[in-house]
């Protein structure tokens, strides 16, 4: 039964009225699917899908020392960001494990951080703990805004249809302010979590339903469907994008998880730098892709072995709708990380043969001219 204390996004009523199967996720009541995970997944690969991602944490940073504050707490170098650009970054703990993965937006004035719903309170606490008298303010904008992801090859045409400004020049990991419909102020970014072209729109909570319905109408010629957390997971999985709680955890090294590129050891001191410097030399394990011979799914925690030698654990697994195969990501002994290596995955007590395959599993056929 649903948790009565679960938070509701401004689109909750729309989801309920339109067949969304609501589940409790990270303290929020969210749609896991409307019709079928596979149908929603395919709509995003072929046309366009809408996702309510309002549960994600949205934190605004203002003040003269906002950059210094972010650069002390996050691992990537936010000083490199020009206005209108976005950067993938990480929050590490003192031991070099991960508190969260985030996106840092540099706006015309100030910064914006988008973090995972499940970690929002920990992220805010980590920033507050390392405040160090910086002249800067953090305000949590999660409740008074909504966030909608528009993803798929027809995402650009869909968003364009409800805006008077053109997004043709908006490149991947760039953001711009725009007016939608009859003047709704939005922060529009070319970002997403599906492996397709796409946008994420941050709008005032009060306008969320209007924008969502506007996008459903605008996307109708392209077969738009609303998508739940289920398809969001299978889409990000095929694109091998890490998910906190799976590929990334309190005790996982970013170098093992394949996100070491977002750790800038030479940028000056930051939280976790010392531990991360040591990890960079010998991460211990490596994130790999696995393709199972059968259809059964190797879910998180399944052990990976070779000749009874323990190699590591599966972090995520699903039946990939686009690739039509049971695939998994695992953190394993680097000695077995080369594509083609044969391993065995224990799927609920039964050994299933698998082969190491390159990541990502899926790459969109013709990347558009974005950088």
């Amino acid at each position: 039964m649903a948790d009565p204390t679960a938070l509701k996004t401004p689109l909750f009523d729309w989801h309920q009225a339109n067949g969304g199967r609501m589940v409790d996720f990270a303290g929020w009541s969210m749609p896991v699917q409307y019709t079928s995970i596979v149908e929603e997944h395919q709509a995003v690969r072929r046309g366009v899908g809408l996702f309510d991602v309002s549960h994600m944490g949205r934190l605004a940073f203002d003040g003269a020392k906002a950059l210094d504050w972010i650069n002390l707490v996050a691992t990537n170098d936010a000083a490199k960001l020009e206005a209108g650009r976005i950067q993938y970054s990480l929050l590490a703990n003192d031991l070099g494990g991960l508190i969260d993965d985030i996106l840092v937006y540099r706006l015309a004035k100030g910064y914006y951080v988008v973090c995972n719903a499940s970690n929002r309170e920990r992220v805010v606490a980590q920033f507050q703990e390392h405040r160090e008298g910086f002249k800067a303010a953090l305000s949590d904008r999660t409740a008074d805004t909504a966030m909608i992801a528009v993803q798929g090859p027809s995402a650009a045409a869909t968003v364009q249809a409800i805006s008077s400004v053109t997004f043709d020049g908006l490149k991947y990991y760039h953001a711009t302010e725009a007016k939608l419909l009859d003047g709704v102020a939005a922060l529009v970014s070319r970002t997403g979590y599906t492996g397709e072209d796409g946008f994420e729109l941050i709008v005032p909570a009060a306008d969320a339903a209007k924008v969502w319905i506007g996008l459903m109408d605008a996307g109708a010629p392209f077969g738009v469907v609303p998508c739940g957390l289920g398809a969001r997971d299978t889409l990000r999985f095929e694109a091998a994008m890490p998910l906190y709680g799976h590929e990334l955890t309190d005790t996982t090294s970013p170098f093992a998880a394949g996100v070491g590129w977002a750790v800038k050891l030479d940028k000056g001191d930051f939280v976790g730098a010392e531990a991360l410097r040591q990890q960079a030399q010998s991460p211990g394990s490596t994130r790999v892709g696995l393709k199972l011979e059968g259809k059964r799914i190797a879910r998180q925690g399944s052990s990976v072995t070779s000749d009874d030698r323990s190699l590591g654990l599966v972090t995520s697994g699903t039946f990939a709708p686009t690739l039509q195969a049971s695939l998994a990501m695992a953190l394993i002994d680097p000695e077995f990380a080369a594509p083609g290596k044969k391993v065995v995955v224990d799927v609920r007590g039964k050994p299933e043969p698998a082969e190491v395959v390159p990541l990502p599993f899926y790459k969109r056929p013709r990347p558009q001219s974005q950088t």
């Binding site: 896991v32 699917q33 019709t35 079928s36 995970i37 596979v38 289920g230 299978t234 059968g294 259809k295 059964r296 799914i297 879910r299 699903t318 039946f319 709708p321 049971s326 609920r348």
Partner: protein
């Protein structure tokens, strides 16, 4: 199979007893809840099923779900076509999508399960 004439377990298996043999399946409601079915694991002919205990599993993209025996008995036939192609279950849960046939220990056991009206009432209240 007419769904109105079947008996149902609280875990959504249906059973149709005729003489000493029962056909066991999974309700359309359960199949619709699962969606995106991938595989099904069924027991072998000769296996013993115990009412309320797991006798197999059905896996969807979203989750793995146990199948529970609605009545006790011995497996006399397994739907091999279904084991080979689980989509049959989505398409036709009350006929071609049957799971197993069992020789029941006591045909009266099925009488203890819900009839169609009681089952419909149950799923309507669970759905909220």
């Amino acid at each position: 199979m007419d769904p109105k004439k079947l008996r149902y377990s609280p875990t959504h298996e249906w059973v149709d007893v005729e003489g000493g043999t029962a056909v066991v399946g999974l309700s359309k409601f359960a199949v619709d809840q699962l969606t995106d079915l991938l595989t099904i694991e069924l027991p072998k002919v000769g296996d013993r099923l115990t009412a309320g205990k797991s006798f197999g599993e059905v896996e969807s993209v979203k989750s793995v779900n146990d199948l529970y025996a609605p009545v006790s008995g011995e497996v006399v036939e397994v739907n091999q076509a279904l084991a080979d192609d689980v989509q049959i279950l989505s398409e036709d849960p009350y006929a071609k999508g049957w799971l197993v046939k069992i020789k029941v220990d006591d045909p009266a056991d099925a009488e203890k399960l819900m009839d169609h009206t009681a089952y419909e009432t149950k799923i309507a209240s669970d759905d909220h």
